[in-house]
Symmetry: C2
């Protein structure tokens, strides 16, 4: 059975402002020393399992040109433009509808476009094992990340070590972002993994689950699917998609369905959730700084400084993030990285849309 | 007797980089909310005592155009260009030589060009009193600043409360920059003032002192003075001035001469020695920030942020200095302001002269 992939690339992440903008979100930026963008790395690391012609990118129309530019060779019809963001269930359903036009059945990988993975070979092995479990029955498989600290920003998935299916374990339940004490408990129990938002299933399996848990949505998706490849394709999409319920695949299907399995992943995963991640990901100098671009540092340490053309002189800085772009420079204490969105709020309120 | 003034404006201060540059030092920048440059303010505040035609500016040739631009109405021949920096004694002597071509005798004010004074009226009153003391005999008068904390970055002058000459006191001795304990002692004793580098004397008095303590320098200055207004003026200056000893007026004359008097000044003086001063001088917002230019601040306090055209977003900053210019941005912890010169050293070593 063919293995296909749907990469979800519609996000508009604000946490990498000023490099990320409304017209250039995180998945189209490079965060690593190799200069490759996150979506390029995402495609690159699944290529051992999936032909490029079987890779589908779900995004929105304003990013289509970026996708084409960054993924040369990808068939243009594989870029699926959501008319509006409707959370992950309709997005995945749209992907399934397109893949169903090409293959009677196939394995479908569902992946975020803006995470980093250090050990691509381990990741490919994990995906292969997941494909095996998905093919073996009507199983919904997810990849969980083995937690190494009590993160409170992720959802967790509890699994049973007793019930196995190949290398995968049976999922007992999905849990929301915990508080710190609960997260510590999860870590101590050793039967919880981070929810990475990566899924593997057969087209036929996910369709059955749509039919069971989201039947109205499935009807809409079928209408859209019928029009794919016809002159009415875009009109139908524009008319039907916005009416689909905004629902996550986790809540809409995964938390309710049976035969959910999870594979623990231990491949150096990072969701690159904020500028803080760059300090973890990129090469540091002797003072634990990540410096790039036109920067002179005097007595600075533990900083992330991304210079541009203009000279940035950093003197005596500690735990700071500095990001220089053509029209805006961010200077942010690491502990205040969560407040970058307040800058965007202020700019929006002031009508200074050119900076968004 | 006419009152004249020599304003010393040859400094190349690096502590206000990146706004100050080799071709635009501090005295030609505005540090205050009114937008006037420091040299403009210096001239403005002595105008109650001195006609513009009697104001002389000692600087170097590369700043002549700036002086003309910032001080319209000043006679061009009143701009005295030192071929090389030779400390304050030759500079003051050059001023005296020029003034001597115009007036047989006159009172001469000698003033730095890069200090700020809050209460101009009190300052003018103090100068008037100093002029009175200077005219009353062969007195060398200096203005001392009443210290309000044990600063270790200034020289101090000890005076006698017993011996007075009008409102001035007899100077007992000049002392170098003290350590903190000594500075505290000076403050407690109440007979020490900060050395501000402002002097008042008659031309005839300072010449007599040059003759007594710096006779060789005086001979050179007379050679230069004889040529002033002749076609040979510039040639003589270029030939003779560089050979004069590099000597401060404090060490060369003031610390040795007799009849030294001091007037305590209490007029809101600030030498604007570094970016830290800007936090004292300019209007602050509710979080004790001094913000100007294109700046968005989120949760920042006690910062000096001078934006330019590019947007500066300051998030969660404490005690920072940020200065944005066309080609360089300084980001500096306040406690590291003294290290800005190390940036310039690095740039010099790297041959990046365009930033100096």
């Amino acid at each position: 059975m063919k293995t296909t992939a749907l990469i979800m690339a519609g996000g508009r992440g604000e946490r990498f402002w000023p490099r990320s903008r409304r017209n250039l979100p995180k998945q189209f930026l490079s965060m690593t020393d190799d200069g490759k963008t996150m979506i390029q790395l995402t495609v690159e690391r699944i290529r051992p399992l999936v032909e490029l012609e079987d890779v589908y990118i779900a995004t929105n129309a304003s990013y289509k040109a970026l996708v084409l530019e960054q993924l040369p060779g990808l068939p243009e019809q594989n870029i699926l433009c959501e008319p509006v963001g409707r959370n992950t269930a309709p997005c995945i359903g749209l992907g399934a509808a397109h893949i169903a036009k090409k293959y009677e059945d196939a394995v479908m990988l569902v992946l975020p476009s803006d995470h980093l993975i250090k050990r691509n070979d381990v990741f490919a092995d994990t995906l292969r094992a997941a494909v095996g479990v998905a093919e073996a029955g009507e199983n919904l498989v997810t990849i969980g990340i083995t937690p190494n600290y009590p993160e409170t920003g992720y959802g967790y998935i509890r699994y049973s070590k007793e019930t196995r299916q190949g290398e995968a374990y049976a999922v007992e339940r999905f849990v929301e972002k915990p508080d710190r004490e609960t997260a510590k408990q999860y870590l101590a129990e050793g039967t919880y993994l981070w929810n990475s938002g990566m899924f593997v299933w057969k087209l036929s399996t996910i369709w059955k689950n749509f039919a069971k848990y989201l039947p109205e949505m499935k009807a809409g998706l079928e209408t859209i699917g019928t029009a794919v490849g016809t002159p009415r394709e875009d009109d139908v999409l524009q008319e039907v998609f916005p009416r689909l319920a905004s629902e996550s695949i986790d809540y809409g299907i995964m938390e309710k369905a049976e035969n959910i399995f999870i594979l623990p992943g231990d491949f150096g995963w990072d969701d690159v959730g904020s500028w803080l991640a760059v300090g973890r990901i990129r090469k540091t100098d002797g003072q634990n700084n990540v410096l790039s671009g036109n920067v002179v540092s005097v007595g600075s340490s533990d900083c992330v400084i991304q210079g541009g053309g203009k000279l940035i002189a950093a003197v005596g800085l500690r735990d700071m993030i500095v990001v220089d772009t053509e029209d805006a420079t961010l200077i942010c204490a690491k502990e205040s990285a969560g407040d970058i969105k307040k800058v965007l709020e202020q700019l929006r309120d002031a009508g200074r849309d050119e900076y968004l």
